[in-house]
């Protein structure tokens, strides 16, 4: 069913409808987070603010952002959750962070979860001793290179100091890098606080500890904010192997401690998920002189553009040629796949509400399929993710954000080495339109008249679907079955419904196929029993 254009859909109806149902205070607050986009004069959107209690939200907590998102995907760290059992349990294998430890003797703790499993006595008398014993047991059983400790809600409240414990245990086990995170779930307003805390920890405890990376090629990059959901990082790794550029560190998909420790030796940082990793990108720039640019491997064109950026950055004709070869080679299959899929997908509509970057990136893929993204929003984005980094200075810091440690870093006394001079950067900017240390935000890329909604609530989601009946709705597991009960195909973009990889060329083809499948799949046409369908009732189904 071809959809009419956005203009005809009266996107403004939505705000009216929603506001009606909310209590006045809620309505007032929510209306600031629901805006109609205009890429030419990007409107301000309220974001990174507290969710109203009682609102059914997509959001999770700081622990989830720190342990679940950023630190979780690293295979050779024993991640001990300090707290009651639940937090460790729920973050155990639930994010599809694939990892590949090639040899049997290599560490891989991903299929394990470790917890101090705090009991009431630990809450009453303190849990530090139990945490120490747990660490000793972990060392005895697994002898890992690193142990990370994650604080859950009660830890901060009862005054357990995980950093002190980490220091003490590090003294006890000098060969093991042990460090803690104060990522209690109540900090901040969403997972975003956890990303920030994790970024700080990466910088303080890992980055820069090893000056001897494993390198094969002349040029080397970091890929930041890529978590290898469904194997995305694997295809990106393959791609860099083919163009002959080393990836020093992926943060943190398919990663190891060594990658973090050597990340400061790279020549360039590519930032995928701006929200979750921009702090590290910035710090690598400030401390070690590594410029970063926003990158995107979601979408074939986006991938090509990102690869070309790399070629332009290094300015090496051989590299540039190899990149063009790879792109040309891959685009054959991509174009064939697009052509096949578009026959089914052209003109269809999508909505997407995910994380910090996917809601932006996946619009590229949909647009390659000829589909329009009517509405989009982030679960835990900040204004810069929507409106672009230019608004950062104007963002008001509220109490919740102020509680998150903001670390100030300085150029490393010995290892700071700007990879490009200011002039070179300026040239690159001018010649190739490469934006360094910049992100223009999602709204810049969305059509005029589309809706942008931050921290979408369940109620708003229901209304969106009722009003605009999208052909596909993208969000996470909590939304999935609601959407499908309404007869709308739902595509998870956190975990891809066990699909993927969706990154780079290979991933794009996978995505086209999966969306084509959704477009062709007939089961939602069967929702109504025939005896409840009007045409059947009228035509033939009359009781004698």
């Amino acid at each position: 069913m071809g959809k009419t254009l956005i203009d005809e859909l009266e996107m403004s109806k939505f705000t009216e409808e929603v506001v009606k149902a909310y209590p006045k205070k809620v309505a007032k607050k929510r209306s600031k987070s629901i805006v109609i986009n205009d890429p030419d004069s990007i409107p301000q959107i309220q974001s990174n603010v507290r969710t109203i209690p009682g609102i059914i939200t997509q959001r999770g907590c700081t622990y989830a952002g720190c342990k679940g998102v950023v630190l979780g995907p690293t295979r050779d760290i024993v991640n001990i959750t300090h707290g009651p059992i639940g937090c460790g349990f729920y973050s155990w294998l639930t994010r599809r962070n694939q990892t590949r430890a090639d040899k049997p003797e290599m560490d891989n703790f991903i299929p394990y979860t470790f917890s101090t499993d705090m009991q009431d006595s630990n809450i009453v008398f303190g849990g530090e001793e139990k945490l120490k014993v747990a660490i000793r047991e972990a060392v005895e059983l697994f002898n890992p290179k690193g142990i990370a400790i994650f604080s859950t809600c009660p830890v901060g409240l009862i005054g357990d100091d995980v950093h002190r414990v980490a220091r003490q245990m590090k003294e006890e086990f000098p060969g093991v890098n042990i460090f803690g995170f104060s990522c209690e779930g109540y900090r901040g307003v969403s997972q975003s606080a956890g990303h920030h805390i994790a970024n700080n920890g990466l910088y303080k405890h890992l980055i820069g500890r090893n000056d001897n990376p494993t390198r094969k090629y002349k040029y080397a990059v970091n890929v930041l904010g890529e978590y290898n959901i469904g194997g995305d990082a694997f295809v990106i790794e393959d791609l860099f192997e083919r163009i002959g550029v080393d990836i020093i560190a992926t943060m943190s998909g398919n990663s190891t401690l060594e990658q973090f420790e050597t990340a400061h030796t790279a020549d360039f940082s590519l930032v995928m998920c701006h929200r979750s990793i921009n702090y590290v990108a910035e710090m690598l720039e400030t401390s070690f002189g590594i410029p970063w640019a926003k990158a995107n491997f979601i979408g074939a064109e986006a991938t090509a553009k990102t690869l070309r950026k790399v070629g332009q950055y290094f300015g090496d004709q051989e590299l540039i040629d190899r990149i063009e070869e790879v792109i040309a080679d891959e685009m054959k299959a991509v174009n064939a796949a697009i052509e096949k899929a578009r026959a089914k997908t052209e003109g269809k509509t999508a909505m997407m509400f995910v994380g910090g970057s996917r809601a932006h990136h996946y619009q590229e893929l949909f647009s390659e399929l000829g589909m329009e993204t009517l509405v989009a929003g982030y679960e835990f984005g900040h204004r810069d993710d929507y409106e672009g980094r230019r608004v950062i200075p104007t963002i008001q810091i509220d109490a919740d954000s102020r509680n998150i440690e903001e670390i100030t870093v300085y150029p490393d006394p010995t290892r700071y080495k700007p990879r490009k001079t200011e002039e070179e950067l300026a040239q690159l900017r001018e010649a190739f339109d490469i934006e360094f240390n910049e992100y223009k935000g999602m709204m810049n890329d969305m059509k005029k008249g589309t809706l942008v909604i931050d921290d979408l609530s369940h109620y708003e989601m229901e209304k969106l679907i009722e009003l605009y009946k999208p052909d596909v709705f993208c969000a996470g597991i909590k939304e999935k079955y609601v959407v499908q009960k309404m007869g709308i195909p739902m595509k998870q973009l956190h975990n891809y419904d066990n699909g993927g990889p969706y990154a780079a060329f290979e991933g794009a083809i996978n995505f086209y196929k999966d969306i084509e499948m959704i477009a062709c799949s007939t089961i939602f046409k069967q929702m109504k029993a025939p005896w409840e369908r009007e045409e059947v009732l009228e035509a033939e189904y009359v009781f004698n």
């Binding site: 149902a21 209590p23 809620v26 507290r50 969710t51 109203i52 209690p53 009682g54 609102i55 059914i56 939200t57 997509q58 959001r59 999770g60 907590c61 622990y63 989830a64 009651p84 059992i85 639940g86 937090c87 460790g88 349990f89 729920y90 155990w92 294998l93 639930t94 049997p104 560490d107 891989n108 299929p111 394990y112 979860t113 470790f114 917890s115 101090t116 499993d117 705090m118 009431d120 809450i123 047991e137 972990a138 059983l141 809600c153 901060g156 409240l157 779930g185 109540y186 901040g188 109490a399 919740d400 369940h458 109620y459 597991i477 909590k478 079955y481 009960k485 309404m486 939602f524 109504k528």
Partner: protein, 459 residues
């Protein structure tokens, strides 16, 4: 190897839990609350708890799971969550229009010491609770007990807040349902209906967590025990509590509050537990057990006897919750199988007593409950001496693949296979379903791995 760091050698762990066979209280409370019609669970704590629990339940049931959260911020953690909860109650009644909000606490609000009675009464005073609506609560500190405890606390809260004794006793039997699937409950309801016994089942997940797809999303699906029925439990003749760890508290509360006597039974998994359930129901509802149920039983016995050669003496490792493990282990033993390793993260003396009795003729059997009774422990035992079958939730698949073991999924969560909420494990038919699954697991494994000349066309 997926679990490459697990070795046979054990150390005496005191603090580190690795790959737990349990999770925390609130998810159990959230689950139980979904079994009351028109009820919206609410998590009084950080957003993360609610998000995690909703995700876990969604993945398991492949159904929408709705719940509110108090969205604690650092401020609420310092000053208490009262304002958050009051606002949450207001917001939820206004927007989501539940009949009742079932609040459960978290480690956060418990550590702070929020007084829910007081907060809820403040919400009522503030006019946040509309006429005819109700807010109930239970305390579910994550650092006490497990998800099973949370379930139990929520069910007990239903009694505390709803059950009412009027002078008019009714010839009705309450069935307090332990943690099970909608399919398991559907089968229990079918059995009681075949028995022509009048019953109130609570909580009731049928038509809630196996809701049809018909193009309409219902925030409060058709199923669930109605609040009217919950109130009437106080007038019933007797209560059968299915699953000690999930229902004992509720049964005791109901007896204390409304003088309804009770009996604790196992969840009717396997023919022995089903026999006891039917006999108890028959006795207390004063209805005979019809021949059709003897026939169902006979069909199960027939299937077991036909499969006996394949089941006899097979060593089984199990993990999960006490209320499931107890009758399941008994069922395996009744089929002459050997459940040799059993762990549950839920600490339970009752579990120990029952297992000791059930496993008295299997001296090699080891079982453990509580802290460090985790899957790492279970896997170490398996490494020490192998088993023929593993039964447990989805996390078992990692052990099963590493050890090339036949694996039957049972328990919570099952995130990697559909349909467990459609096909019962309870009753005689559920028993047949389990036997079939076990046999398929054995035979598929054999057919795949045996020498070519040993592939057999027949049993």
């Amino acid at each position: 190897m997926l679990l490459r760091h697990t070795t046979a050698k054990e150390i005496d762990r005191k603090a580190l839990t690795i790959n737990p066979a349990k999770t925390c209280q609130p998810v159990g409370a959230m689950y139980a609350a979904l079994g009351i019609h028109g009820c919206l669970p609410h998590s009084h704590g950080s957003q993360g708890c609610c998000s995690y629990h909703r995700s876990a339940l969604s993945r398991h049931f492949r159904e929408p799971i709705m719940a509110g959260t108090s969205s604690f911020s650092e401020g609420s953690s310092v000053f208490g969550g009262s304002a958050n909860l009051v606002q949450a109650i207001d917001t939820m009644f206004t927007i989501y229009k539940p009949d009742v909000i079932a609040v459960h606490t978290t480690c956060l609000s418990e550590t702070i010491g929020d007084d829910l009675t007081q907060i809820i009464s403040k919400a009522a005073d503030d006019g946040c609770v509309p006429e005819g609506k109700q807010v109930i609560y239970c305390n579910t500190p994550s650092y006490v007990g497990t998800h099973v405890t949370g379930y139990s606390n929520q069910v007990a809260a239903f009694i505390k807040f709803f059950s009412t004794a009027t002078p008019k006793k009714r010839n009705v039997i309450n069935i307090a349902a332990g943690w099970m699937e909608p399919s398991d409950q559907r089968e229990i309801k079918r059995l009681t209906s075949v028995m022509e016994a009048r019953t109130i089942l609570f909580p009731d997940f049928t038509d809630v967590l196996d809701a049809p797809l018909d193009g309409h999303y219902k925030m409060y699906p058709n199923g669930g025990t109605t609040i009217a029925d919950m109130k009437l439990t106080g007038d019933s003749k007797f209560t059968l509590g299915l699953g000690q760890s999930c229902t004992e508290d509720a049964c005791i509360k109901l007896e204390n509050k409304c003088k309804v006597k009770f009996e604790l039974l196992d969840i009717p998994i396997g023919f022995k537990a089903t026999d006891r359930f039917l006999m108890s129901l028959s006795r207390h509802a004063n209805v005979p057990i019809p021949e059709s149920l003897s026939d169902e039983r006979g069909r199960l016995i027939d299937l077991i006897s036909d499969s006996s050669k394949y089941l006899y003496g097979k060593r089984v490792a199990l993990f999960g919750d006490p209320d499931t493990l107890i009758p399941l282990t008994e069922f395996l033993v009744s089929m002459d199988m050997k459940p040799v390793y059993i762990v549950t993260g839920t600490p339970s003396k009752y579990f120990t007593e029952r297992m000791t009795e059930i496993l008295k003729d299997i001296p090699e059997a080891k079982f453990k409950s509580g802290e460090q009774a985790d899957m790492f422990q279970l896997h170490q035992w398996i490494k020490q001496e192998g088993v023929d079958l593993l039964m447990g939730n989805t996390y078992g698949k990692y052990i099963a693949r590493d050890e090339d073991l036949p694996f039957v999924r049972i328990g919570f969560p099952i995130a990697d296979r559909p349909g467990h909420n459609y096909f019962a494990k309870t009753g005689y038919e559920g028993g047949a379903n389990l036997v079939k699954q076990i046999m398929d697991a054995f035979l598929d494994h054999f057919d795949r791995t045996c020498l070519e000349e040993k592939v057999e066309w027949q049993l």
